[in-house]
Symmetry: C2
């Protein structure tokens, strides 16, 4: 192997044509007529995509490995014996009828980085691993692969209402429930984790900037907020006498939006569903259950948002004479990315002459599980129109290549200062 200085590395680039050819081949596995892909975790198309990935890795002369959680890896031993491994990756599963970029781009770019390093015969201070995590999208258990690898998978993740079909799917994939828990790795062996992903939002497009450096992955809190009134005859009950649960629910939905715009600019709160009981044209609704979710990359701000939103729910309930029941259904802590990895990405952008901006990730990613055990970072490339989780998902090919080159150079910088 050749030990090289920064100068000689600086001219390295991914092979855009090779990357694209692989990308197109992969997009055909589970491809839909409208240009998207349908590769839910453990579907035939998903399993085929994973096999395809291992075959490409083997063709490239890389070791391959599948762990107990089904994570598929290509490994390049480019560091000294006993060196830790820098993981680069994403996922090959998709949401039902999703897009061809979400996840797939990050896995293929990681594989391409390993090829470039192998083709150059580079000797680094860490090994490199391109990893395809299992069920990132949560068909069964969201972030299953990265939770298992980082030792965060718990029995309650597996014992879901979908457990029966989950176990069948594991068997189909040659896995087992017990094996899932064997996938945990010693964090001392992990030099870090880097993920290239499409933004799934429109900030980069709007700013006309090709690279986003993710400052952190937002925390998520979700509640069922239940307004309890009284079911009354819609014809015989005057407006003044009603205890109409729809009024509290509607007021909360409007107030949540106003509150984000005014008190928490940049924050997001969503009422994605309301359920009405009894739910008839001619009955004043007795109970309306509001699905309320909000996100922030700052834990303190999440606390403030929770306090303000639930206080507002109480105010609206009181205003309309309603009872209020609040049930927490999800609490995911924010996952800040590593400052050192952000700096490595920024350095790569500068070296490549690519403008960049810092932004949080509003969506969840395997990087949030990885960030709990090792320095982690994410690189975003622009999503046209901000569309994602749909066949409308699109990223210009030059943006994909730019992202892969940033991944390459950030990885090289990190793998050369071991323990990064």
């Amino acid at each position: 192997m050749v030990q090289q200085g920064d100068e000689s590395f600086s001219s390295l680039r991914v092979d855009g044509a090779r990357l694209r050819a692989g990308f197109e081949e992969l997009a055909a596995i589970g491809g839909t007529p409208d240009g998207g892909v349908h590769r839910p975790a453990f579907s035939e198309a998903h399993l085929a995509a994973r096999r395809w990935f291992l075959e490409r890795a083997q063709e490239a002369g890389l070791e391959t490995h599948v762990d107990g959680a089904g994570n598929h890896s290509a490994l390049l031993r480019c560091g000294p014996a006993g060196a830790p491994t820098l993981l680069l990756g994403s996922h090959l599963d998709s949401v039902p009828y999703g897009g061809r970029f979400d996840g797939a781009l990050g896995v293929l770019a990681a594989l391409e980085v390993l090829r470039v390093v192998r083709d150059g015969g580079l000797a680094l201070d860490a090994h490199l691993e391109a990893i395809d995590f299992t069920d990132e999208e949560g068909r069964y258990v969201g972030l299953l692969g990265s939770l298992a690898l980082t030792g965060q998978l718990a029995a309650e993740h597996v014992d879901s209402p979908r457990a029966e079909r989950f176990r069948e799917a594991l068997v189909r994939a040659g896995l087992s429930e017990a094996a899932l828990f064997s996938a945990g790795r010693d964090p001392a062996g992990l030099a870090g984790y880097l993920e290239l992903h499409i933004e799934q939002g429109a900030r980069l497009v709007e700013a006309a900037v090709p690279i986003g450096i993710v400052t952190g992955i937002v925390g998520i809190r979700a509640f069922l907020v239940r307004f309890v009134g009284r079911a009354d005859h819609a014809g015989t009950t005057p407006m003044e006498r009603r205890l109409d649960a729809a009024q509290g629910a509607s007021a909360l939905a409007l107030a949540a939006r106003e509150m984000m715009l005014r008190r928490f600019p940049g924050g997001v709160a969503t009422v994605g569903r309301m359920e009405f009981t009894p739910g008839a044209f001619n009955v004043v609704p007795e109970v309306v259950t509001v699905a309320l979710e909000f996100r922030s990359e700052d834990a303190g701000r999440l606390d403030d948002m929770e306090a303000a939103l639930l206080e507002q729910a109480g105010i609206e309930a009181q205003q309309f004479g309603l009872g209020l029941e609040v049930e927490a259904v999800e609490r995911i802590a924010p996952a800040p990315t590593s400052g050192r990895l952000q700096e490595a990405i920024a350095g790569a952008c500068r070296a490549l002459g690519l403008p960049y901006l810092y932004l949080p990730s509003g969506a969840g990613h395997d990087a949030q599980a990885m960030a709990r055990v090792c320095p982690s970072g994410m690189i975003f490339v622009p999503s046209a129109g901000g569309f994602s989780h749909s066949s409308r998902e699109f990223t210009a090919w030059q943006d994909c290549v730019n992202g892969a080159n940033v991944l390459l150079h950030a990885a090289l910088a990190l793998a050369r200062r071991q323990g990064c």
Copy 2:
């Protein structure tokens, strides 16, 4: 028969003990443990209640009749040959797990009136008929019996999504679809229709007045109002960029209430249901469909309410950048009661020393079908707490007796001036 003057009629009263004994017996048919009744149309309990009614009528020496729509009648030929018939009645079916007063009180009071007239051997200018209408509550076709009797039943009433089970139910009740249309009567033979019913609202209780004279039965309009936005990722889409269908729907629900209170005092508008698509915690709702219903006894006011509510829906859609689709699903015209019948009821109240007030019916009744072909009127008695369509339904017995006596004297006054 004895021809008598107003003076001798004025001392007549219903037999409260006989009325109550029958009421208790009837309430046991399909009675529920909590004191309500479960007698959906054509259920075994409903058919048993109807048989019980005919048997009581026969015991009382009355003719009985069942028409092609299953309407059950007791007939007293107390008028001259060829005289028209004054109908008194209501219905013996209930909503699922309903109350014992709704409908049953009116049928039993009508039967009691015929008994009093028969026991007194009175000769009147019209015949009297106590009628139990079929499926008032609309298990299959709302107001089926009265629509059929008044020639208003149409093929589209019968060809509903429930048609298959409806035909089975008809067979169970010894009826047929073809026979339904044979139940129509010549309006010339109808002197009028009077119905005693519980208010199902709280106005009489609040005013502490024992008798309500119904001025009309409200018209009903119902719409599905569909706000169309865009499904977006709840984490990656800033508030400013959302086209959130929930915002338009919520704003309409709040505005509808405010509008009734301010612009249409006494009017009612109800959002009984909203349906969210896709309806997930983490997706900005693309479509929210609002079930909007409003009622008024005045057709012009209904027009004004419709224009104002749909204009408001358009304003809210525009405010939040949403599309709007409006689908009319029900239009029931208001049915004013007869001024002469209102006056006959008021005269009966005065003769009995019972205070009364005029009020509309916010709920639908067979009287609204009858009002299209003959002079019709309704007498309301107080509903404790305004409760109805539930086992909590309750009317003090003295109020029931008062109502039956008002029915008796209004009927006597009307049947003595034929052609009323």
